[in-house]
Symmetry: C2
Subunit: 222 residues, 2 copies
Amino acid sequence: MSGHVVSSYDADLNDLRQRILTMGGLVEKMIADAVKSLVDRDTELAERIIAMDHEVNNHEVVIDERCLELLALRQPTGKDLRFITLALKIVTDLERIGDKCANMAKRARQLNQEPPLKPYIDIPRMAHWVEVMIKEALDAFVRGDDVLAVKVCKDDQMVDDLNEQVQRELYSYMIEDPSTISRAMRLTYISKSLERIADHATNIAEMVIFMVKGKDIRHTIA
Amino acid sequence: MSGHVVSSYDADLNDLRQRILTMGGLVEKMIADAVKSLVDRDTELAERIIAMDHEVNNHEVVIDERCLELLALRQPTGKDLRFITLALKIVTDLERIGDKCANMAKRARQLNQEPPLKPYIDIPRMAHWVEVMIKEALDAFVRGDDVLAVKVCKDDQMVDDLNEQVQRELYSYMIEDPSTISRAMRLTYISKSLERIADHATNIAEMVIFMVKGKDIRHTIA
């Protein structure tokens, strides 16, 4: 949007923050829409999500370049250096989330061609929490808010529990009626994808805590 | 190991290269051993892999810090800047691969408590290719070898095909005999994990091509 006309260092950093939030917003929408395309059996929406993956990839390329420019031209140290190098890592997480959303949409497209297996209750709930986690992880990043980041790490358990519940339920469908196996496997895949997107949010949040506190709590919260 | 006694810039970069290869070697061994713990029904080996995950995490923390030191103290530009920022991204991929190996070992531990479902042929073949892909992606990185990186991207298809074959075979087991479902699901998980580790190798290789060529071929090969 803006950014290239201004030249002060702070404006450049704000532009970077804004670009990451924009990319994050896109990815949050893809999560919600991927699950909506499943619940509403909306194959056209699924197709649009699959196409949106390119847009996410373009954001990644542009943000990577902006980070490299900032490192080369501004030669930041300390807090700013941690912020920019973390931005480089975070865009990779966001890009992989975009991939996972496109893959969920592909499974939804397949599922929409067969009779529905069951009403979806836990999967939309998971999607909601996962979206909130991504949003809060990125807010924590741009604001340097370690308290919010700790909350995100804790919320991961909720998504793990929901995923476990979905897996168990789908397993019982498969055991009782093998004709449900292929549909149940696709739903299993969607549930696991959501759980893995929550892991990305948790990874981002852990890195934010490191950025703020300057010490590494990654691999100690689990 | 070495590195902290020397002080020239080139020596620092070489130390970084060496640390990434060491971390890569550890991860390659974890892939091989996770599948070995399944094939040989060796639960003790599975436990050791689960414990090794901490070691991978420690490598990540140290390499991240070395990269930040290099950026702050040496203020690199151009080729060296791309190399160091890419190192930051690559260690994240390697750390996530370590997580996946630990998770595969957990599934192997569960599978070892039940009668074997079938002789494992394709999964060890996949593991072999995935190991080669990781090794070659990291060699391409430290040598700046874009030709080798392109080979890694192409090899990904082979692993995808093997995974498809394994998935189809396990699906037919489940359909024919629902008592195999829980074991087949665990094997499905292991096969998909290997496929995703190959995706990490491909991601690394694509980033290396970008580093060498200076233009982004990510999201155009696929």
